[in-house]
């Protein structure tokens, strides 16, 4: 197993290099550069910059160099943990995004856990009680969940939470807690703010997974080996758990690889609407201001998550299905 993992991890490196190359150039495709955006900002506030200042800024930031050189300057620091310098924040990229990345991962991770914990039991119930009232209600809710985009749900939650229920519906902490040192009270305050965005982010995935689990289990329940297990005298619950669900879960794991990056991008949107300090808000700003090193690192971060989650999904599949393990 270990050589396989090492091989896969090494195999990621060329993909990442290619991805970083492409993202770096795509970010810079719009006309102008960071200095132009600074210039227009200054202009919109009534000021002006003379040509020499603009040139000096370009030289200082290295923007006068060819793009390949700029790319090399950025990428060569990666092995040493230097992810470049954010022009807009005047700070190393890593310092700007480190805590935000933490929150992003936390929110996405919790949303994933929520999705799996909720969808598997519901999917199993729906399949074993096909066309029952419960199955129909869950199917209806599932389609509703599938069809409402996360930004809309966030907005609805903002309105309902603050105006109707009168509870804090945005941010991660109450204002009085934001700068307080960590304590139990602050942790509880965090939990109070955390559950809503986690559910909002998880709801589309949950609906998807319920449909997949239901369909897959219905398929497996017709398999001969399920009847064999029953004919052995096994209890129906055990037949479902040990034989049917174990097999039916395969497609769920395959989509897991796709869901992790989806969660990251959902955390960006939900973070923006509910003002949660995920990488979302700064990602948007970095794209507008053409702060290419910051935007590039965030994009690369998402690419890494995609590759890692695919590897994870493959490993889990191999772990639960011997037919994959031996090939």
């Amino acid at each position: 197993m270990l050589p396989y993992i090492v091989k896969r991890v090494l195999g990621m490196i060329p993909s990442l290099i290619i991805i970083s190359f492409i993202t770096f150039f795509v970010i810079q495709l719009p006309p102008g550069d960071f200095v132009t955006s600074v210039q227009s900002q200054v202009a919109s506030s009534g000021g002006g910059m003379d040509a020499t200042t603009v040139e000096a800024l370009r030289v200082r930031y290295g923007l006068d160099q060819p793009q390949v050189v700029q790319y090399w300057r950025w990428i060569k620091g990666f092995p040493t943990g230097d992810f470049g310098y954010s022009l807009e924040w005047s700070a190393p990229v890593w310092d700007v995004i480190a805590t935000r990345m933490g929150w992003t991962l936390l929110l996405s991770g919790l949303a994933l856990v929520f999705m799996w914990v909720v969808s598997i039991p519901i999917g199993v119930y729906s399949a074993t009680h096909q066309y029952s009232i419960g199955d129909n209600i869950f199917s209806f809710l599932g389609f509703l969940g599938l069809s409402i985009p996360d930004f809309l749900l966030s907005l609805i939650w903002l309105v309902v939470g603050t105006l109707v229920l009168g509870i804090p519906a945005y941010g991660l902490f109450s204002p009085e807690m934001a700068d307080a040192p960590w304590s139990l009270a602050k942790f509880l305050d965090l939990l109070k703010h955390l559950w809503a965005p986690v559910i909002i982010m998880g709801i589309i995935g949950t609906a998807e997974l319920i449909r997949i689990m239901r369909g897959s289990l219905l398929d497996v329940l017709n398999q001969q080996y399920v009847t064999t297990a029953r004919a052995k005298g096994l209890h129906e619950k055990k037949v479902i758990k040990k034989y049917a669900v174990r097999m039916a879960i395969n497609p769920l794991i395959s989509v897991l690889g796709m869901q992790i990056p989806k969660m990251i991008s959902s955390s960006i949107i939900v973070g923006l609407v509910l003002s949660i300090p995920t990488v979302g808000p700064i990602f948007l700003r970095s794209l507008i201001s053409q702060d290419m090193y910051l935007a590039g690192v965030i994009l690369l971060f998402m690419a890494v998550m995609l590759l890692v989650s695919n590897l994870l999904a493959d490993l889990v599949l191999a772990w639960i299905d011997p037919r994959i393990r031996y090939e």
Binding site: Q224, Y225, T227, Y243, D321, P322
Partner: protein
């Protein structure tokens, strides 16, 4: 039926099973009667859709309970330690009682060896599971017995740690047989056990079943559409058509002196060794009616070549007659 005083292991009386599908009611079984003695083999023959497999699955109550309803009849099974037979038709398919019989007193092997073992557990796991479910043994003892059973079906002992997908079709059917016999059942239901296998493997599996039957003294309900298999294995045979047994009796009686026009047609449609190669086989005219349609009267009259003789108009369901002792037939020709 006569001979009721005899101690049959399994007696099915007038079993009626209906499927409630979206398109309508399918009358899968319309009154099936059978009996099987301890240690003997009963062959159940008929073409696809005649209700052979439904009968087999009904005995173990394996039909999906929402879709398939037992509308009437009895399935009397004599358990090992009790004098009085129990009626499996009245047992709750989810009950502890039926689960203690499944795999323990009645075991079943299936048509599709490629899919009847779960791909994610080893052969040994699956056999041990059955053993530990019905016998009070430790996992080590269960593994021992599993390996013994594998040896009994002429598989290597190390198959115990193999996954089913690494075995061939014949090996899987052997492993399946080992699992079915692991708790020493008094009745083995074999639902077309050789249909998916090629001819040489078929012969091996049949021989294996016959020798194991002697060794374990169990009865076999052999379901097949292959009359050759029946001729080789069975003591008694029942011919089914459209959810009814149309003819039954000892193997020599039914195959040597077939009475029902359907049985006669089945035997005529078989190729014979030594026949001239240019002789055409004689198929039964027509085809099996639509499963949703209710055939009134004699189920076979739509395809029967002789029903207009002897004043038979096919409008009435013939009753069962016994032209010779033990040989039953449902046809007006023998009134």
């Amino acid at each position: 039926m006569k001979n009721e005083e005899k101690n049959y292991l399994l007696t099915i009386k007038d079993l009626v099973v209906h499927f409630h599908t979206l398109e309508g009611i399918v009358r899968a079984l319309e009154g099936v009667s059978l009996h099987l003695e301890q240690g003997k083999t009963l062959g159940l023959v008929g073409e696809s859709g005649c209700g052979k497999s439904v009968t087999a699955h009904s005995i173990l109550r394996l039909l999906p309970p929402k879709l398939c309803k037992i509308k009437g009849g009895e399935i009397l099974f004599r358990q090992r330690d009790s004098a009085e037979p129990i009626d499996l038709a009245k047992v709750d398919p989810q009950s502890d009682l039926i689960r203690s019989i499944r795999g323990h007193e009645i075991a079943m092997i299936f048509q599709e060896p490629m899919t009847s073992l779960a791909p994610i557990y080893t052969v040994g796991d699956q056999i041990m599971e059955a053993i530990m479910l019905h016998r009070q043994v430790s996992p080590e003892q269960a593994r021992e017995s599993a390996m013994e059973m594998l040896k009994a079906v002429a598989l290597a002992e190390n198959v115990v740690d193999e996954y089913p997908y690494r075995l061939s079709g014949g090996q899987r059917q052997r492993a399946m047989t080992a699992m079915a016999l692991s708790c020493n059942p008094s009745l083995l239901i074999a639902d077309e056990p050789t249909t998916a296998l090629d001819v040489t493997i078929q012969a091996q599996i049949l021989e294996l079943l016959m020798s194991l039957q002697k060794e374990f003294n169990m009865a076999i309900l052999m379901i097949t559409h292959n009359l050759g298999v029946i001729a080789e294995m069975a003591d008694e045979v029942a011919v089914m058509y459209l959810g009814r047994v149309v003819e039954s009796g000892a193997i020599e009686q039914v195959l040597g002196n077939p009475l029902h026009p359907y049985t006669i047609g089945l035997l005529k449609s078989l190729p014979k060794m030594g026949d001239q190669t240019n002789r055409r086989l004689a198929p039964i005219p027509g085809s099996v009616p639509d499963p949703l349609a209710k055939v009134e009267g004699c189920p076979f009259h739509l395809r029967c070549p002789v029903y207009k003789q002897k004043g038979c108009d096919g409008k009435e369901l013939p009753s069962v007659v016994e032209p010779e002792p033990g040989h039953l037939v449902r046809c007006v020709l023998y009134y």
